[in-house]
């Protein structure tokens, strides 16, 4: 300022002077730059979210459809004994079916040909025959998934122009598949197996049933433990706790617990639940208990906020007509705070549903081909299933991982939508 007044005292004071205009435009420019950078930062975050979702959706939608093949399977009495149909040679039954479908195929091609059909086909035929042994000697028509390489071919993921030795299907295999397509045997229905099957080594058969049920059990256990404990702790801290050292310690403790890395909870579960108490590995019960410890701080914090939001007039009115302190809390404050508590609980459970690391440590990444029937059976959960599939080398698992993520995100969206609905519908503004 001082040197300006010395050099050009008149010019710098006039609002219309060029120096002032220069300065003003410079200041406006720096404002525009800051604004632009800020907008750019937000757009960058949006762009990342967009790329993430686009990757998942473009990759995952493929897995919601599965290529199927319709085959006529002759059941010869030589291969399947009518006395004991469950022990028939169904592998050869399938080979015969391929022979019928490709009458001019050579003996040596049969092995490759039967590779078109998924491994599950023989079991499906077996189940049909066991259910109805009178089918032996006749020809039945089945519709089964094709194996993964052909599924990828049908979905356009195989570059047929590339070098034959560089891909899993040679030109002959592609020719056979073309022939099947021309005969109208190939279809691409919705892949219900993704939800109705449990895990499998074969991508075309792998599904999420076990993971969904495992996650459900784990969340149920998590809810049953963390909900009462969390509400109880929050009521005590918010309504009854005297202001002393112990309450302070508990409070600091809960805040810190909420920030402990999730993998540490896994270590705790591994050492205490599995190591000292001898609980079963890979069980949703243990997973749920671990998740409950992590969810409890979230529920406590949400419940305390909800209790705080109930106006003192309610408490005073109830106390005024002679209710005891506990009657006030359980009869009036708690019911009024319930919508807020439920919202916080659902958000906490949604976090727990996506939690992976502690479940890995207690072995919920096991390869389990049957859905669990109790919380004590070995099982996977949705996020650990995603982790297993993401690690699998088969091409089909890439799109299935995306599909599984979409299923998981679907559940998360539903839970959060429920929480938002509860909040908007029931929460009162005092």
């Amino acid at each position: 300022m001082t040197d300006q007044t010395n050099d050009a005292p008149q010019a710098s004071h006039g609002w219309a002077s060029p120096e002032f205009q220069n300065r003003l435009s410079r200041r406006r420019r720096s404002e525009a730059i800051l604004k632009g950078v800020g907008l750019g930062a937000i757009l960058f975050a949006f762009l990342m979210l967009g790329i993430l979702l686009w990757t998942l959706i473009s990759g995952g939608t493929q897995a919601f459809r599965q290529t199927h093949i319709t085959l006529d399977v002759p059941i010869s009495a030589e291969l399947v004994d009518a006395e004991d149909p469950s022990r028939g040679n169904y592998r050869n039954v399938m080979n015969e079916a391929m022979q019928v479908t490709f009458p001019d195929a050579e003996e040596g091609d049969l092995r490759a040909l039967s590779g078109i059909v998924s491994n599950a086909a023989q079991f499906e035929v077996r189940d049909r025959i066991v259910a109805d042994p009178s089918l032996i000697g006749q020809t039945i028509t089945i519709k089964v998934p094709v194996s993964d390489p052909y599924d990828q071919l049908n979905k356009g993921n195989v570059d047929t122009e590339s070098d034959e030795t560089m891909r899993r299907l040679n030109d002959a295999a592609i020719g056979w598949f073309q022939q099947l397509q021309d005969e109208g045997r190939i279809s691409k229905p919705i892949n219900w197996a993704l939800i109705t099957n449990a895990d499998s080594r074969f991508p075309e058969l792998a599904g999420l049933k076990g993971a969904i049920i495992g996650s459900f059990y784990a969340l149920l256990v998590c809810f049953l433990i963390s909900f009462p404990l969390g509400i109880g702790a929050a009521i005590y801290l918010e309504e009854f706790a005297p202001k002393n050292r112990l309450s302070d310690v508990i409070e600091v403790n809960i805040n810190n617990l909420a920030a402990v890395p999730s993998v540490v909870f896994g270590l705790l579960a591994l050492a205490v639940f599995l190591g000292w108490f001898g609980m079963p590995r890979s069980a949703p019960l243990v997973g749920g208990m671990t998740l409950a410890l992590m969810t409890m701080p979230t529920i406590i914090i949400a419940t305390r906020a909800a209790l705080k939001a109930v106006p003192p007039s309610i408490r005073e009115a109830a106390l005024g007509v002679g209710a005891s302190k506990q009657q006030v809390v359980f009869g009036h404050v708690l019911p009024l705070a319930m919508p807020g508590i439920l919202t916080g609980t659902i958000i906490g459970l949604a976090q727990a549903l996506g939690e992976t690391a502690p479940l890995l440590l207690i072995g919920m990444n096991a390869f389990v081909t049957a859905a669990p029937s109790t919380p004590l059976d070995a099982a996977t959960a949705l996020p650990t299933q995603i982790f297993i599939w993401a690690d699998s080398p088969e091409r089909g698992f890439v799109s299935r991982t995306s599909a599984a993520i979409l299923v998981l995100l679907g559940f998360l969206v539903m839970m959060n939508a429920l929480a938002i609905f509860l909040r908007n519908r029931f929460e009162r503004r005092w």
């Binding site: 200041r27 406006r28 404002e31 800051l34 604004k35 800020g38 907008l39 750019g40 930062a41 937000i42 960058f44 975050a45 949006f46 790329i51 993430l52 990757t55 990759g59 009462p228 404990l229 109880g232 702790a233 005590y236 801290l237 706790a241 310690v249 508990i250 403790n253 810190n256 617990l257 920030a259 402990v260 890395p261 999730s262 993998v263 540490v264 270590l267 705790l268 591994l270 050492a271 205490v272 190591g275 108490f277 001898g278 609980m279 409890m296 701080p297 506990q326 996506g354 939690e355 992976t356 690391a357 890995l360 440590l361 650990t384 995603i386 982790f387 993401a390 993520i405 998981l408 998360l412």
Partner: protein, 458 residues
């Protein structure tokens, strides 16, 4: 048997409720003035049955399998467990267990069959004993509470006393969890430091946990110096923070100062979406999209970029941290008193000048607290690095190289293998202890800064 026990104690509790309430009502109808309502007399009986019985059943269930296993293993014939490692003993335990559940593979020795039979009979006995104890405790509680029903008995106070006890124990669970974490980590770490000197762990510069399991196996000697592991963690954290802080800060400034109300109402929840996505999804995103993209970019520049470079894991972690930092910075900026903002504007400062010269300096403590919390999250973050970072520990600070992290090592050391006596497994607990200490310190400092700053302006 557990189902029976629960059914029994629930019936007893309900019966106690009815009985005592009825007794109290009878007293009242007889013309006496009760101190408490009949309902409280009933509730007193209900709680007096439920609380001790449920505690007994839960403790029983938790301890039962450990005790039975101990008894069975102690009852094995002399000599069969001699000269066996703990891994082999684990296997024998598992075999006996599966035989006792009726899954017999091959042709096990007779003593295993005997042990399995013993295990089954112990289980049955334990079940019956539990039922008996529950019945006895319930009956005793019923008897005692039934005698307490009198006109002057302060049943409401008694019920509220029990409820208060329950509430206090709920809040003590939080302390137990912390104590449990510390105890389990410290306990296993001490066992680790008995095998590997603590100085080797803290100051060693080589991390090669693949030690031989059998005598004749060819494997590395095993080295447990955690410096390269924590160095890798810091490299990835550094990449994440360097990307996330400017982006998060700038978006917070824009949302707070320049955005229209409508834009803010849409942009904030969308940003929060990034925080709600499970980390396993980010991990998949990192290996499927980001890592190949970074490698292609490196190849076009002629840079040698490792397949699982720290850049990929770090930048994806940054995306996860953006909403975290943004919302902390947003809160800090909003908490600056209006008078400061108004004063600056009244002097003729532009919005940008107000933000950079007045609001931002005033909000720095809050922002620093948020960034510290983000650092602690990045250090403790597991799934992204497990999927996208490397496994081999190197003493390098080159973010283009592949590095490993503390959490990656914990997970890889513990997946599949859980015999609790090899340094390989126990090393994971030592790493976990260090992770816990480091994140706890950062969190305490960060929370203190945030809280202190809030008090400054409130």
């Amino acid at each position: 048997m557990t189902g029976f026990a629960f059914a029994l104690l629930l019936t007893a509790a309900l019966a106690g409720y009815m009985m005592n309430r009825q007794a109290a009502v009878t007293l009242r109808d007889g013309g006496q003035r009760l101190h408490s309502l009949g309902m409280f007399h009933g509730l007193y009986a209900l709680l007096a049955v439920l609380v001790p019985a449920i505690i007994i059943v839960l403790l029983w269930l938790v301890l039962q399998s450990t005790v039975i296993n101990r008894l069975v293993m102690a009852g094995l014939p002399d000599g069969v467990l001699d000269n066996l490692g703990s891994g082999a003993i684990q296997l024998i335990k598992a075999e006996i267990q599966s035989i006792s559940q009726g899954r017999v593979f091959g042709d096990p020795e007779q003593w295993k069959m005997d042990a399995a039979e013993r295990m089954n009979s112990l289980r049955a006995a334990s079940g019956w004993l539990m039922l008996l104890v529950v019945a006895a405790v319930s009956a005793a509680a019923l008897f005692v509470t039934r005698r307490s029903v009198r006109a002057e008995f302060r049943a409401r106070q008694a019920v509220e006393g029990i409820t208060m006890g329950l509430l206090i124990s709920c809040s003590l669970v939080a302390i137990f969890v912390t104590v449990g974490i510390v105890l389990s980590l410290v306990f296993e770490s001490i066992r680790f430091f008995q095998m590997v000197p603590i100085t080797d762990f803290l100051f060693g510069t080589s991390w090669e946990p693949q030690i031989p399991i059998r005598e004749d196996q060819v494997a590395a000697e095993g080295a447990f110096g955690w410096l390269p592991v924590i160095l890798g963690t810091l490299v990835i954290t550094f990449v994440a923070i360097v990307v996330a802080v400017p982006v998060g800060l700038m978006s917070a400034i824009y949302l707070n100062e320049f955005a229209s109300k409508r834009f803010r109402a849409i942009a904030k929840p969308v940003l929060e979406l990034l925080a709600g996505i499970p980390t396993v999804v980010y991990g998949f995103f990192a290996i499927l999209t980001v890592a190949p993209a970074i490698r292609a970019w490196g190849a076009s520049l002629g840079l040698p970029i490792a397949p699982n470079t720290a850049l990929a894991a770090g930048s994806v972690m940054a995306v996860m941290l953006i909403p975290f930092i943004s919302s902390f910075a947003d809160d800090a900026l909003s908490a600056v008193p209006r008078s400061l903002r108004d004063g600056s504007m009244a002097l003729g400062a532009t919005r940008a000048e107000t933000v950079t010269k007045v609001l931002f300096p005033a909000a720095i403590p809050g922002i620093v607290g948020g960034v510290l919390l983000a650092v602690s999250r990045a250090i403790g973050e597991t799934m992204i690095v497990v999927m996208a970072a490397g496994l081999i520990a190197k003493m390098t600070i080159n973010p283009l190289d592949s590095v490993t992290t503390v959490t990656v090592q914990i997970v890889t050391l513990l997946i599949g293998d859980t015999s609790f006596d090899s340094p390989k497994t126990l090393a994971a607990f030592a790493l976990g202890l260090m992770l816990f200490i480091v994140t706890l310190l950062i969190n305490i400092v960060a929370l203190r800064i945030v809280r202190k700053y809030r008090e400054l302006y409130d």
